[in-house]
Symmetry: D2
Subunit: 341 residues, 4 copies
């Protein structure tokens, strides 16, 4: 049984790790930290977990956490993760960081987040569909939610060098903004509404450019996020304009789908739907559903991906990475469907 620690267990990501790990056949959470909730049972804040755990929040030092655990998830804000990760690694445990501290090169991180990086370390970008080297990593930087949906939607096209330009128009549930009430998450401001925000400057753009840029260096990427009246999920509508010469190729919808299927032949969590993907079909699950549609007679192909931002976009993907890092089946504890309707 893999002994798991969660640093920062009071937020949505920590709660989702607890939810998913409560039924994992080969892992058990032995330690969950929260400074402000130390001493309280996990159900004090995650009421849905009542009866599933007999576990209290603690506030131990990094070294103690490392000693008690085979692997540790850090689910704390960016800037804070870097306070934990080196100590955990140095004490001998493996780490999966769900913040943005270990996803980007230091210079890009510092420019994007406007802060000094206190403790850079070698890390693997934890999108296992593109990064088999997760298997031997000691530190994984778990991808952002938007980059997961956007990158998986475009990777096959980028790998084929087909993309001239892509506009990602993404629609996210509000849980991505966290557990703290804000003006944006205030029910009257979100119900029956949709909010476009950080219109041209979201911090996840460098991750998307990094990952797709590795596959096709001259790809041009635009990204605009929206928050929709939903708790979970990210639907990414990728408007792709292909390079000259590929216009007729994309007109063959079945052929394009087949190209995607082959690219993802070994990726069990990517499902080509044949139809337009929807959040309701991935809600609560680790799947990334992908569909596509060419525009008749033009250079535009629309690719649509749907994920649950808290699962494939965060905690589920982190557990998928854990499975791979610990040498067990990638799908262990994650092979269940979404909760439609």
């Amino acid at each position: 049984m893999i002994k798991v620690g969660i640093v920062g267990g009071s937020g949505y990501t920590g709660g989702e790790l607890l939810r998913l790990l409560s039924t994992h056949p080969e892992a058990r959470v032995v330690c969950v930290t929260s400074r402000k909730l130390a001493g309280k049972p996990v159900e004090a804040v995650h009421e849905h977990l009542r009866a599933l755990y007999d576990l209290k929040f603690e506030a131990p030092a990094a070294q103690e956490v490392a000693q008690r655990c085979d692997i540790v998830f850090t689910a704390v804000p960016h800037g804070t993760a870097m306070d934990w990760v080196p100590a955990l690694l140095d004490a001998g445990t493996k780490v999966i960081d769900l913040s943005s501290d270990y996803r980007l090169p230091v210079d890009v991180f510092e420019k994007t987040y406007g802060m000094k990086h206190k403790a850079p370390r070698q890390a693997v970008f934890g999108l296992p569909e593109l990064h088999p080297e997760v298997a031997s990593a000691r530190l994984v930087g778990n991808p952002g939610c938007y980059p997961t949906g956007a990158t998986l939607a475009l990777a096959p096209l980028a790998a084929a060098g087909m993309v001239d330009r892509v506009v990602f128009d993404s629609k996210s549930g509000i849980s991505g903004a966290g557990v703290e009430p804000t003006e944006t998450s205030h029910y009257p401001n979100l119900a029956q509404n949709i909010r476009c925000y950080k219109v041209t400057s979201h911090r996840h753009v460098p991750e998307i450019k990094q990952e797709l840029g590795k596959l096709q260096s001259d790809i041009r990427i635009s990204f605009t996020p929206h928050v929709i009246a939903a708790v979970r999920g990210i639907l990414t509508t990728a408007h792709v304009f292909v390079k000259p010469g590929f216009e007729s190729k994309i007109q063959d919808k079945a052929g394009m789908e087949e190209m995607y299927r082959q690219f993802y032949a070994k990726s069990r969590f990517v499902r080509m739907t044949g139809t337009v993907p929807m959040l309701m079909n991935v809600r609560g699950s680790n799947f990334c559903d992908i569909g596509l549609e060419p525009e008749k007679g033009t250079d535009r192909l629309v690719v649509i991906s749907a994920i649950d931002n808290l699962v494939k976009g965060a905690a589920g993907q982190a557990i998928q990475n854990m499975n791979i890092m610990m040498g067990i089946d990638e799908t262990a504890g994650l092979w269940f469907p979404g909760g439609a309707p």
Copy 2:
């Protein structure tokens, strides 16, 4: 043209007064106050009002407000209204207070709200369907949202002395909780959810008991509120158990509806629907829709009322009171339908 002042214009009630008064044919807002927003245009916080007003928030003293206005709405929290109302009255203006400071006898107020009343004044309870004396009032205590829906649903039965016991099970939109983000108003905590709160001890109970008790002294009242996944509206399901002797009377549904129609014959904002009322049909409007259904062969009659908590439950009713106090048609500026769908 009636010159109107609004003390406390930054919240939902203040915003709704501004929305409704923007199209009132005989009234004009000449002053809206907010200490924290002084100097900013109303659309800085009420973006939906852009282009409708050329008005800035101010922070004048009560006397100045009174001098510039024929009538003033106080839309500040309970406990704060009592700081404004006496000064406004003494300076010669009429006042409609939308807080709870002037709805109850002092002793009941103090017990219910756990605070000393600093400035009691004579006031009329502003439910115009039951209180024609609003016409000559200088100070009106505008009713709470729950009491409006509950009292209108039961008044005809209580006036006929028919009620043994009533359980009000009310369901409110979240706007009643105000503009400030809280854990309850946090979208993930309300969407797809319903929250029963202050299960047996809501502060609006004394208002309901006061108003129905005037009509039938021995009525027994229970009240439990819920917040539903909606912005606006209160649906009140009143489970009425009638006194012995009335069991067969309530079985005549058409007769009961006729009794209600007669009771509300002059109340233009009360609509007997004949069907089960729904929030969607009163949303944004000043109507109170009422329907009823007897349980076959028992002593139970279910009466259902639907209002928009921000309109008939607050700002609309306040304007209705203003119309009556100023001697113009009760429906002026309020005679429009709800916004279904």
Copy 3:
């Protein structure tokens, strides 16, 4: 491995059985029927199940289903189940019927549903918390969703003979109304709305009266259902008026909770929350959360229960029954938390 059949797999209940059984460690769906979808893969209609099943809808006769399966769930409309159940039983399989055909005595069924019962059979009412005889049943009539939430909320009080009168005011998600689009399920008619329906005459009342009446013969029961803007879940607000002599007993909140805890000591799916239960904490799970609150100084106790109508209110409870009937752990395949947020 238990071989499971599902008769009627195209609706929400059938889909939920498939969802839950896809991860059951000791059961496997070997046959799912649908006349209109015969030949199509399950994901053709349950898109969220893509990749979880390699199974097609079939249209076999009852005897064939029985021969291939150890146990069969009938998830067809009332009136249709009675066409299947006897043939299945006679062919030697066990049956759990999720319709209302085998929950009530024949005379009560016929009066309630306005139809002749074509094939009455001995059946156990499948609320395992109250009916241990499920263990030896060959036919279980799985309870309705409202009766599950209402009965579990009141059983301890009724068993103690404490109830004078109870008003169940229930609020259900729309999935209980099924997969077919109707005026009620039309999004503009439900979002931001709440609909009280069958105000005093819902067909589930006889089940509630039957079950609670077994525990306390003189209990008086009222029931009014609402549909809320939610997909899943039933919140039941039970307004209980206790018999004379019990007024002071109910004032002891902790004592009342302890009484409930003892009553449900062996019921692993009933959780006493200590707080007010909410749908979000049981969503997608088989738990029934219960909380309570006395009204100070009166004879009223409010008990609130929350279930997922498709799980504890239908498919989950059916699987719980299956586990018990097949002699395996009651919680097998069902021991996971709800999907908050």
Copy 4:
């Protein structure tokens, strides 16, 4: 008083015309038709209009409608409007058609809608911000909802010849799909979801191309619609790539906003927000809110528009056209704010 007729009053568009006209100071609905509802009062289907109208649905011939009315709105499906419009015009009344029958040249219409046009007539495209010739029109083809939001968002840029390519990614409330329940409008399929549909082939594209093409002939247009979990509203996110030479010009956000303000100086229903527009601020109103944001250092400008699809996108715009055609103030009956929160 302008005498108004509505042909096809049972759907959302007809209902919205009735809602808006109920408070119009210079117009009165004298006739509303519906074959299936003839003889029933308008509140039989539009319950929110109870008490506002004393009017029954009728089923008169076109000539009779024309004789009784100064102007007629046809709010029937495309293909049916062409059965009414010529007869109405020939009988001497003015007509505003809310279907798609009179928005496009005949050949484009026939190709787009796959049907023969039975009765082409000269018509003005009823987007009054771009078509002052509405004033003298006898027949106006009222624009589609998506084209209204998209065209207003881009017109200033197109008029300046600045656009290389634009991708309109639009998000609409479900009311645009009409009053009939469908699988798409089924609450469990829309709540907490978002649905991309007719991904590259929506029928409104030709209208958008027609209108923007008049302003800039070489503009390249892509359009993809989504349905969001909302009843009302269309948010259009326009990703604009400008022609070489305009990259630096768009970097001046204030300058771009000023350019828009000047373009719409006389358009009272277009509001430049300075912030990101949201549906909640236009809900129920005739406003089109527009905001914009350049991407730093690139050729991309994001322009966002928000309208209420039933008002500015249908009935409100139709009334605006009526006002202009009848020579009264464009804003008559329409000068009120949206219903936030």
